[in-house]
């Protein structure tokens, strides 16, 4: 990260400087698919990756690049690549590093689509994953095999809110020369910068707190630049000759940015999950206020979790900043500014009570997203997991009384009042 400008300044300025011709203070939306070449020579030099520049928006775009450079600066990484969604980012990383016969060690407590991709989709292409408890560094170490090509987890797990002990796990990965890839969606670089703790690659769903307003889907990969891909037997498509560009070795030619160079030349080229320039603009607008929003998200989260802890209608409350959370000590150490704005809680009265609560609140929105400026709620027992029995939900680490709350930026007293309406409905039901 820049030594000269601090985080809040970079959130506003990194990646863009007004151009001399128009002086546009805001990042312009370059709503274009392609770019006129000044000469055939210039066209060739872009295709050959001789110099940087834009040739087709599926590969790169100036508005998207401003977002990428802002993210690289905020994370303190060597380079970044933005794409159409958080899941696209995840797939790009996995497919860039792994090939048929390779193995992944991943956290067992993650967002459903992250689990599905590794558990069900990637094995069809010969990439297998062993899932282990993210709070157990020894188990992670034991699961690593000679063909393990990456270790993956979420810094703050969705929805269980388990905290990975990133420095400990990074030490293990480092000693075995395996990249540690982290989904840092729930923490954002404001709360924690994984590269400072030894991680090597970060993936983000920009859809959530970074974008922060629930208006655009997007994802990103940030490359720490701190991983040695030089082992040609282990990472043959990054350090060995690659089919693209006449047998290029991305590691030799691009060093710290080898992974991003490869993803642009292969993933963006052949799969094509590009981010629209307009969405990049919206996401960047969000990032401009990330520090302010995250401060308020955390403040509101602490206030509402105290309220819930002391509420007679609440059975339990889960948030890593509460002393009762099993990972509280790890959270205090690696997320000193706060461990995100998702709170899980159980309502007295089980599945039916959860349903009644959700249906009676007015301000908090009942929907399947997190990280919006507005407060969001979901009751897995009556929605995403309604087809499962209580026992089956327990096996997945969920309970049927559980409500997942994404704390927004409203005046928190209004949210508390709103919740009282929900609790009143539950009380009526319980009578």
């Amino acid at each position: 990260m820049s030594e000269n400008y601090k985080f809040d300044t970079l959130s506003l300025h990194a990646g863009h400087i007004p151009d001399k011709e128009t002086g546009s203070r805001a990042v312009p939306i370059y709503q274009t698919t392609s770019y006129v070449f000044n000469s055939t020579e210039e066209a060739a030099s872009l295709y050959n990756m001789e110099v940087g520049g834009h040739l087709y928006t599926r590969i790169s775009n100036p508005t998207v690049a401003a977002l990428e450079q802002r993210l690289a600066a905020l994370e303190g990484g060597a380079s970044a690549l933005a794409c159409s969604s958080g899941m696209a980012a995840m797939h790009l990383v996995v497919s860039a590093i792994c090939s048929n016969g390779d193995h992944i060690v991943a956290s067992s407590k993650m967002y459903g689509a992250n689990i599905n991709l590794l558990q069900h989709t990637m094995p069809r292409f010969g990439v297998k994953t062993d899932f282990v408890n993210p709070n157990d560094p020894d188990a992670i170490e034991r699961a690593i095999k000679p063909n393990t090509k990456l270790v993956f987890g979420e810094v703050i797990g969705n929805p269980g809110l388990d905290i990975m002990d990133v420095p400990e796990i990074a030490k293990i990965c480092n000693s075995k020369n395996i990249p540690l890839v982290l989904d840092a969606t729930f923490n954002t670089p404001y709360l924690m910068q994984p590269f400072k703790h030894g991680a090597n690659i970060v993936v983000h769903s920009l859809t959530k707190w970074l974008g922060g307003h629930g208006i655009a889907i997007g994802g990103a990969i940030v490359n720490g630049g701190n991983f040695d891909w030089g082992d040609k037997d282990k990472f043959p498509t990054i350090s060995g000759p690659h089919f693209a560009l006449g047998g290029i070795s991305f590691w030799e030619e691009f060093g710290p940015s080898a992974l991003i160079a490869k993803i642009r030349a292969e993933g963006m080229y052949n799969f094509g999950p590009s981010l629209s320039p307009t969405n990049a603009f919206h996401l960047m607008q969000g990032i401009e206020t990330l520090p302010l929003r995250m401060k308020k998200h955390i403040e509101n989260t602490h206030s509402i979790s105290d309220f819930l802890v002391n509420h007679e209608m609440v059975e339990w409350v889960k948030h890593p900043d509460l002393e009762t959370h099993p990972d509280h000590q790890v959270a205090k150490r690696i997320l000193p500014k706060g461990s995100g704005s998702i709170v899980a809680f159980g309502i007295k009265g089980g599945r039916e009570a959860g349903k009644a609560f959700i249906e009676s609140v007015q301000l908090a929105s009942h929907l399947a997203n997190v990280g919006d400026a507005k407060t969001l709620l979901i009751h897995p027992g009556s929605t995403t997991h309604s087809h499962l029995s209580s026992e089956a939900m327990k096996e997945g680490g969920l309970t049927d009384d559980m409500i997942r709350l994404s704390v927004g930026l409203e005046d928190i007293d209004d949210i508390k009042k709103d919740f009282e309406k929900g609790f009143k409905a539950v009380k009526k039901l319980n009578k």
Binding site: S2, Y5, V51, G52, Q69, A78, G255, R264
Partner: protein, 265 residues
């Protein structure tokens, strides 16, 4: 490509093309604490233009093993021996920062094959302050970080980059971290101890090109302008950026070098 040279693994970037030693070869010499990756956007560019390109990682830098050279003269001798080993017929040397001092010394010993010398962010002397010299010994990582910060203009601070998605600081720090930890202190001391630059500059007979940076905090423009006055036949350009010209202004630099090379014949 990787060769064994003077008994040590030595990496030489060739810009993604094979080295043809019968062609005119552009030899890029990296600066203090750098390696071949400081010329990412030059190596491929000129190799694909049809030049033979070599970007050696000096001993203990980048992918090269061996012990770091301990003076500018030692660096120049090492490069001289490498050029002889590779049996190169005609060489244009392009130095960046410390690489410029090495080029000055190389001119004295490798004269007959040298077609031209190009100085990027160069001078005839590069004094280094005691604080940085000490830090490079005690905490090379921190010293590298400071150099990356000082070395870039505003584009570094704000992550402004023509290369989509890339951060000058993040990339610059990690490039320097690839070297052996002792490399930096020897580089900086070599620069600081080098006092023969005036004489060496006056001895250059081949055509020269100097590309200087307006906001250079490592080899200040003032010092660069004095330096070019010592050169008999020097074409000089000034670009609006910091010391890390090759990554801050790749297109402009490549285009200036390319036009100069075309005029050489």
């Amino acid at each position: 490509m990787i060769i064994t040279f003077k008994g040590a693994k030595t990496y030489i970037g060739t810009g993604g093309k094979s080295l043809v030693n019968t062609k005119r070869t552009l030899c890029f010499l990296h600066g203090s604490g750098q390696n071949h990756l400081s010329f990412i956007q030059q190596a491929r560019f000129f190799a694909y233009k049809g030049y033979s390109v070599i970007v050696p990682d000096m001993p203990a830098h980048g992918f090269s093993d061996g012990n770091p050279c301990k003076s500018i003269k030692e660096n120049a001798e090492w490069i001289n021996d490498l050029l002889v080993e590779l049996n190169l017929k005609e060489v244009v040397v392009i130095g960046h920062s410390q690489g410029c001092l090495v080029a000055l010394e190389l001119n004295r010993i490798f004269k007959s094959f040298l077609k031209s010398v190009i100085f990027v962010a160069g001078s005839n002397k590069i004094p280094v302050n005691q604080f940085l010299l000490d830090l490079s010994k005690d905490n090379p990582q921190k010293a590298s970080k400071m150099m990356v910060t000082w070395g870039h203009g505003i584009d570094g601070d704000l992550s402004i980059n023509k290369w989509p998605g890339h951060s000058h600081y993040g990339e610059g720090n990690n490039i320097m971290c690839m070297n052996k930890p002792t490399a930096l202190k020897h580089d900086l001391n070599s620069c600081n101890d080098y006092l023969d630059g005036i004489d060496a500059s006056k001895k250059i007979e081949v055509p020269t090109l100097a590309v200087l940076a307006k906001n250079d905090q490592m080899t200040p423009l003032k010092s660069g302008l004095k330096f070019v006055e010592l050169l008999k036949n020097c074409e000089t350009h000034i670009l609006d950026c910091g010391h890390f010209l090759p990554s801050e202004r790749p297109m402009e630099l490549n285009s200036i070098i390319n036009s100069f090379l075309l005029k050489l014949e």
